[in-house]
Symmetry: C2
Subunit: 69 residues, 2 copies
DNA sequence: TAAATATTACTGCCTTAGCGGTAATATCTG
DNA sequence: CAGATATTACCGCTAAGGCAGTAATATTTA
């Protein structure tokens, strides 16, 4: 997961879903600017904004640690 | 990953690491208030703040989707 | 129990993410 | 190519996240 390009990952999934940035923004309930920022790997976006996008694109998030849970 | 309690997950890892909230905040380069908010599952925190905490605690993030990568 | 430490909560200030509107490119499509 | 569509970029405004300081509880430890 080092240097993982989340922006590109999301971009690919958005296009695979046949959505424009504006459509994705509307579905996620956020602004188009934020979608653009996320795909450009802006790190200071809000966690819930990112989650909303991942949810629309059916992308799951997993937290892995040596202290397996 | 439905209804995953990230706040508690982080709380457990912080204690396993023997860190107080203030120590974790300092190591992550963020304020103690933010660490508190994260452990309380505040969703509107910034993505980079959360990442900084996960990094200190050696927790990896993985994004999973049907369109396997 | 008492003292020390940690967590939770609240306050006010400052910074900035998020936003829509707009426009300039870039890309797709007939 | 020309038109339509999409992406990228920039602009101010506003709401709210982040912060240190402080204090009230809660927890731990001697």
């Amino acid at each position: 997961m080092v240097n993982f390009d989340l922006g590109q990952f999301i971009n690919e999934h958005r296009k695979a879903a046949g959505l424009t940035q504006i459509q994705l923004a509307d579905l996620a309930g956020i602004g188009k600017t934020t979608v653009f920022d996320i795909e450009k790997n802006k790190k200071s976006v809000r966690w819930d904004s990112l989650m909303a996008v991942l949810d629309v694109l059916n992308i799951d998030v997993q937290f892995i640690s040596p202290l397996k849970k």
